[in-house]
Amino acid sequence: MTTKLMGEPVRRREDLRLITGRGRYTDDIGHGALAAAFVRSPYAHARITGIDVDAALDVDGVVAIYTYEDLVGPMAEPLPVLIPHPQLTAPRTGYPLARDVVQHVGEAVVMVVATDRYVAEDVCDRIAVAYEELPVVVGVDAAREAVHAVHEDVPDNVAARHHQETGDVEAALAASTHTLSFTQYIERSACMPMEGKGVHAVWNRDDSSLRVHTSTQASTSVRAAIAAKLQLSLEKVEVVAPDVGGGFGVKIVHPWPEELLVPMAAIALGQPVHWAEDRREHFISSAHERQQRQEITVGYDDGGRVTALDVRGWHDNGAYTPYGIIVPIVTATQLVGPYAIPVYRVRIDSVYTNTVIVTPYRGAGRPQGCYAMERTMDRIAQDLGLDRAEVRRRNLIGKDEFPYDHHLTFQDGRPVIYDSGDYEGLLDKLIALVGWDRAEERRAEAASRGKQLGIGMAMYVEGTGPGPYEGGHVQVLGSGKVLVSTGLTSQGQGHETAFAQIVAHELGVPIEDVEVTTGDTRRFGYAVGTFASRAAVMSGNAIALAARGVRAKALRIAAEVLEADVDDLEIDEGVVQVKGTPGTAIPLRTVAVLSNPLRYAFDEAARQATQFAGPGDDSKPPVAVGDAPGLEHVDYYSPIRSTFASGAHAAVVEIDPTTWEIEVVDYAVVHDCGNIVNPMIVEGQVHGGVAQGVGGALYERMAYDADGQLQNASFMDFLMPYASEVPDVVIDHQETPSPLNPLGLKGAGEAGVIPGTACIASAIEDAVGRRIAAMPISPTELYDLVRSPDAERVPAATTGVPA
């Protein structure tokens, strides 16, 4: 019997090449290509009054210099608004190279191509761009006040007003026994994959075709964008995402200016051109996320049950809106989490600032929504003197209430209807896992060591696996090798392994025979991309369906050969056999050979399928009408709507009241992503997400000054957690399969990061007894807060279920 593979911690097939230095990332490809480098704006908002390249022209090795004036046709038009939305009434995007006005520090103004990167940067240094500075808008509050406008023709700085409501919130608030209102902030962070972006383009003059390697999360869509912008026929453009050194969202945005400009130069120069983003470029010209101001009013009854929730938010979208309003929509719709909120209204203004664009970073608006909702639960508990876990419990959607319709519209344009879950089960597991009921003992024990201990929790529901679709191709070769491809890309999530497990399981072949390719348009041209925790759900199911198609065909062919009934056949270890009669069998590889009737033989396997190889049935054509040669199948999975994963986290912090150092001493995760393909990979995703959650809560922020200069644009000053900052994580799983897809999967990629800020804020508040209303928080800010006479005091928490 084939070893069980679904649900097993199969070791990754990606690893061998990556641990021996044989991985191929974009910057490893194309030795000897010309190198591109960019002159970027040093000002956050300025008019370009002149570009002088004279001094640059005599640098040895300069090959070409491009400015906006050199862009033609669609390249001279603004970059696309990727995701239009009716509420995005004032979308703005930049140009591949700035035209007239720059809107943030780091915007590309000039592209230089030279014999190598060192020379290209020498050339950049000699290019003089003259600017006339314009007033700068930094931060949501400045954008909202709109004393100055980022875009001249958008005087209120509002790109979009996103608004959803499920009833008359004002009436419901007026009718509520209790109400409370508060304002809170969350700061900017960023994906910060260890590999920056990179593009390598090769133009083949002989057949007028272009091949681009790019460190992207969406190769099929980059391909379409390049074809459109450079006016090439789609079939002449191929885009490959090779090994990608992390993405976390930033590489879903496309086309980045460089993804168009580098191919443009390769075509114009007839030579391969290469660009590797450096770390400072990544800080100032890629994307950030998370900054919001949230004004929340909640109504509730004596038992702490929410009766109405009204959220007014301002979301900083940076200088442009290429990715539309996905992040604020996700915040708005995922905010309600696992709770039944009878009447909900959310209004979020997405506003322009003279800063780097804001596009999804792992969690993509959910951490902010979770922060709003979970801090609301904490406040209700404090106000009523109830246990924070108990207040949550009273508001949870019941296990028997699925499917649960929130009457909201999600980021995929589809209704927010939770497909399955058991939120009370999560809460019970979390309470047990973190020892919630022992918090007071631990507090006393920590106090005896001079430490202030606090505990906090946060729950979330995460819409994962949105459509429109993904596809999979599965093909059995005459060698017995099984080729699998999907258009969606990989950035370290172990897709090659997980998808191979799925195919080996569905088809009944040894996993060693399965080879998986992702993100290569030469292999699979239709895809959407890797984002929103959708790879396993979307491509996993598409590949499973494709494998089932191959299996059906294999059984049909084998049934003829073995003169058996299809229903009596099974495939095990790559052999089709009659159940219970192991002698009556045919290897799958032979079935693959027979599936393709041949005229020409070029090896022993092929010979079996040639026209004189055996007695044929002269009464039928070699390939039946409606059939196709080859043992392969393509299938697609297109979900009716997203599937909703869920989870609950708890953090225990200890604070040193002399230094106000905040240490997360325990971190507990209960996680439900439906059926699991590979628990080792899922736990790895959770670990990585939690580390980013802790980073976002305590260390990471984009420190813009009032002039729009990013003060900490390096790893020296932007503090990403090292191992010493990440707590040990204990994990418990719950599995409520999704009824929406064949494999019962829900996404797992982003979950770990979502509740980090909310539960750590809760724990710190619990430890110090002061209201935490802005995150992240540093030891200095905490010190200032506890010393401030104005800081709002928080009543001592009640933990443990009240008698």
Partner: protein, 172 residues
């Protein structure tokens, strides 16, 4: 106009002596990656913070983005490509740290991995292998490199696992 002068250096890279002519301003990381085409060494920050570019120079971990290629003239450099041993039969024997990374799922995208492997290999080889590794030692070995994917739990686990393998006398 030429802004740099060049110099020819001889370096033993992964046991093979190589001679190469490099501009004096060339970083070791770039010389390895571009001149010698050893792209296993990765560059994550180019300012000495992330550790992705770590290689061994005469056995000591060094951030190759903070060293000029001309500074390793006459020295021996080991990169991730040179970490596994030849098994004498055309194959390779992985270093215990490589085995441990694979066994413990200590990598996701793999971009930071070469730096961790080199740092850990040197750290574990330098310690007294007859003793069990302590948590402080693990923290010391793992604590100086950045990884954005794994949250470090499995990298620490791999460090313990590799220390165990090396104590048992396996490999390296």
């Amino acid at each position: 106009m030429s802004v740099s002068t060049e110099r020819t250096i001889s370096v033993t890279v992964n046991g093979v002596s190589r001679e190469t002519t490099v501009p004096v301003r060339r970083l070791l990381s770039d010389a390895l990656r571009h001149d010698l085409q050893l792209t296993g060494t990765h560059v994550g920050c180019e300012h000495g913070v992330c550790g992705a570019c770590t290689v061994l120079v005469d056995g000591t971990p060094v951030r190759s983005c903070l060293v000029l290629a001309v500074q390793v003239d006459g020295k021996a450099v080991t990169t991730v490509e040179g970490l596994a041993r030849d098994d004498g039969r055309g194959g390779e024997v992985l270093h215990p740290v490589q085995e441990a990374f694979r066994e413990c799922h200590a990598l996701q995208c793999g971009f930071c991995t070469p730096g961790f492997l080199m740092t850990m290999a040197a750290g574990l080889e330098a310690r007294d292998r007859t003793t069990d590794i302590t948590e402080d030692e693990v923290d010391e070995i793992v604590g100086g490199n950045l990884c954005r994917c794994t949250g470090y739990a499995n990298i620490k686990k791999a460090c313990r696992h590799a220390a165990g393998l090396m104590k048992d006398g396996d490999g390296a």
